[in-house]
Amino acid sequence: MIDFTVVDLSRLQFAATAMYHFLFVPLTLGLSFLMAIMESVYVMTGRDIWRRMTLFWGTLFGINFAMGVATGIVMEFQFGMNWSYYSHYVGDVFGAPLAVEGLMAFFLEATFIGLFFFGWDRLPRVGHLAVTWLVALGANFSALWILIANGWMQNPVGSVFNPDTMRMEVTDFMAVIFNPVAQAKFVHTVSAGYTTGAMFMMAISAFFLLRGKHIELAKRSMVVAASFGLASALSVVVLGDESGYVATEQQKMKIAALEAMWDTEPAPASLTLFAIPGKNGNRFEVKIPWVLGLVTTRSLNTELPGIHQLVDHAEQRIRNGITASADLDAIRKSPTDKVARADFAQNWHDLGYALLLKRYRDDVQAATPEEIHKAALDTIPDVATLFWSFRIMVGLGFYMILFFATAFLLSARNKLGENRILLRIALFSLPVPWIAIESGWLVAEYGRQPWAIEGVLPTFYAASGLTLTDLAISLGFFLTLYTSLLIVMVILILKAIKAGPGPQDVAIDDVDGAVQIPQGAFAHPER
């Protein structure tokens, strides 16, 4: 039987390593573009300050990128290590975008990142600029393929369950690639990354200006970051709405949960501004009429189902899934049974719902009505957590639009560097995009529970049969190593910021005197 402690620890490990990895990804996405913009200005105008800006932000980018690479390797292997049944069950569909990510995107990004750092004096200006753009392009392609994979987990299109191989198989790759959820998520996520890069640049430049240091670099960086940040922050929210719209088709339960909407309301549904969600309804709520219905369905008369109604629907699908499970057994006993195959083709869509019963019994076809009801209730995610993380994300999203709009207006009047209040706000806003992003992932992934693949494969059923010792060791190592590395990284970033851009050629003080060391030094190894 399934060991639920192992499942929970596996979930904890995956969530921790993924959220940790995603501390670095958005900054890579944003800074790579900002650096490419700065270097383009350098190549077009020939003014050295823009090259020094590229070098300085590049140093911080490099430290961040190393952490992103180090934690990204873990992500690639963890599916097989901790989620082996998942890997078997959906590898035919889910593995492909991951492999294409490597082929098309990560190779590009990682191959040229070395030239970005080491190629300054070996390439003509335009050549190096092309390298920088290729790094940015690679990072963004990378996000595209990862979000195609993730989008399929939210909305598993273009595939069918094959009873002969006991897994999901692709029927239509174009549907997987152009999955509307994946497309919306891609734009939403990379825009969030651009916003993060812009906020990072604003905050550090503001720090320089408040200290009266590196004025030329900081002012120019702020001008670039303010306009880039405003465009990105607007795009996050506008296209965030787009992913809300898409979710109503496939993920009604997620929408209902993050709005804490327990019962279907007459259309258009009202938006809950504040509530204290409990286990079976809200203890207190403040609502704005109409707004939710308008935003998510873009119509006045489309009804949004409430949590209780969706549970009833899930119960129906579980019963249907039990039929599919019986058909599957019949096919396995006699692979040529045409009747069972035809019936299975009708019902396989609900097979995943029957798997929810595996929490209560191994033989799902013998499930009692109580068990079916319990399994249906399991489809409700953690309403209070979703409700609040969604509001944190949206609130911070609007805050960032306001912030960047103000910064943009001030910079248009050339007063950005003088407004000390804004500079202080910029400095203290540094963590804002990260909080918004991690809340966003919480909404997307925690809100998908109990599913690993929406409607197809429950999370608990997808885990590897590892032991508690395995998980204790791996989780312990990850937490220790990741925490230490984060501390070291923050120290190094602060050191690099303190050192600031070098006088002319030098990005940071680590040239180390190696320039002065004569060749002869090789003859005296310091053993």
């Binding site: 180090a70 097989g80 049944y85 593995g95 990510e101 190779f107 070395g114 191989t165 190696a514």
Partner: protein, 382 residues
């Protein structure tokens, strides 16, 4: 699917070959980074010497490491059953590899940022671990595959594993692990000898020759072990190469020396072990005669030969099961669907040549000897 222009059997064979190409690509490209990492404390003794080695890898190691990431992704996409059973089965070994590989990128980036000798020595050992440990464990894993892995599949094809971490450390697997280290250290030493000068290059030539000799001895030892002491696996029922990927539809037995069966049936395959023995000899001679092109050819051929030998001996097996041989994974029953294999092949045909082309260009731009002076000119050097 009758719209797919290649049949399922051919695609499975192509993807078996591509699996080999990716593993060889990883060993040739990232392998020298691992080898140099493992050699770092021994070949380079002062901080300047170590910086020479680190900056030799600096511009290209990130791209090289993608061979590993792509290998993982391609196994996931093309051989999902293999990905599921092996990565979960070797859990703690994989965790060890991951921890070592996490240390590597940060060690490269962080080491140079602070000028304290203890700080730098710490990251030097991190780079050593990041090179030596993955090289060893990947070899141990391949050794275990040849021995058979204690995994099983239930009727829903859920893999379960009956072994533990210390169970991986069987004598043959350790020989295989050491062979992997020797092979990659030879390769790393060849690169150091080719691209540095002075004491570092001199020491690399010495260590490289030791490692080449060790490769020959260990490879020969492994060959004798496989021939006379070890059970190989044989499929005894008829397997349909066009059938659905379900590993439970066949019968398998074991017999001593069975891993040599393919060489009897197809004598041309003996080329692979021959290269595995010849390659290190060529590398040795090249290192001795200061002929870096010869030594590079030798260490590359050694990798091609040794990895191909493992693959050809196992064929059609990918992962034999020691506790339920019938559940072993083979080329004919552990692949993705016909459509996925085809689409992934198209993606590979488009992107792999591009990758090779731009990687070659980057190496061209960064060519030349790395010295303390050449590092000093670059503000971004590690």
């Amino acid at each position: 699917m009758n719209t797919i222009p290649l049949d399922y059997e051919t695609l499975r064979l192509i993807w078996w070959l591509l699996l080999g190409v990716l593993l060889i690509g990883f060993a040739v490209m990232d392998g020298y980074d691992l080898g140099v990492g493992a050699l770092l404390p021994f070949v380079a003794r002062s901080d300047d010497e170590r910086r020479v080695l680190i900056n030799l890898l600096g511009p290209t190691w990130e791209g090289n490491q993608v061979w590993l990431v792509l290998g993982g992704g391609a196994i996931f996409a093309a051989w999902p059953a293999l990905y599921a059973a092996s990565f979960s089965g070797f859990y703690l070994a994989m965790i060890t590899v991951l921890l070592a590989l996490i240390l590597r990128p940060v060690a490269f980036k962080f080491r140079g940022k602070i000028k304290d000798p203890r700080w730098r020595a710490t990251w030097d050992w991190a780079l050593f671990i990041g090179g030596f440990v993955p090289a060893l464990i990947f070899g141990v894993a391949v050794g275990n595959v040849l021995l058979g892995v204690p995994f099983n599949l239930d009727a829903t094809l859920r893999p379960s594993y009956a072994g533990n971490f210390f169970g991986l450390l069987r004598p043959f697997a350790l020989v295989s692990g050491l062979l992997s280290v020797a092979m990659l250290v030879t390769h790393g030493a060849v690169i150091i000898a080719a691209r540095t000068e002075g004491m570092v290059a001199l020491r690399a030539r010495v260590y490289g020759r030791y490692a080449a000799v060790a490769s020959i001895v260990l490879f020969a030892l492994a060959g004798l072990w496989v021939s006379f002491l070890m059970d190989g696996y044989v499929v005894t029922s008829v397997q349909d190469p066009l059938g659905p990927s379900n590993p439970l539809n066949k019968m398998v037995t074991t017999s001593t020396g069975a891993w040599l069966a393919n060489y009897g049936a197809h004598p041309w395959m003996i080329m692979a072990p021959a290269l595995g023995l010849l390659g290190p000899v060529v590398a040795y001679l090249g290192l001795k005669g200061h002929a870096w092109k010869t030594s590079l050819l030798g260490s590359t051929l050694a990798i091609v030969g040794i990895i191909s030998t493992a693959g050809l001996s196992l064929f059609p097996f990918l992962l034999p099961s020691s506790i339920n041989p019938n559940a072993s994974l083979t080329v004919w029953d552990a692949s993705s669907s016909h459509l996925t294999l085809f689409v992934m092949l198209l993606a590979t045909i488009v992107f792999l040549p591009l990758i090779i082309a731009y990687t070659a260009w980057v190496y061209r731009v960064m060519r030349g000897t790395v010295t303390a002076t050449s590092i000093g000119r670059n503000p971004n050097a590690y």
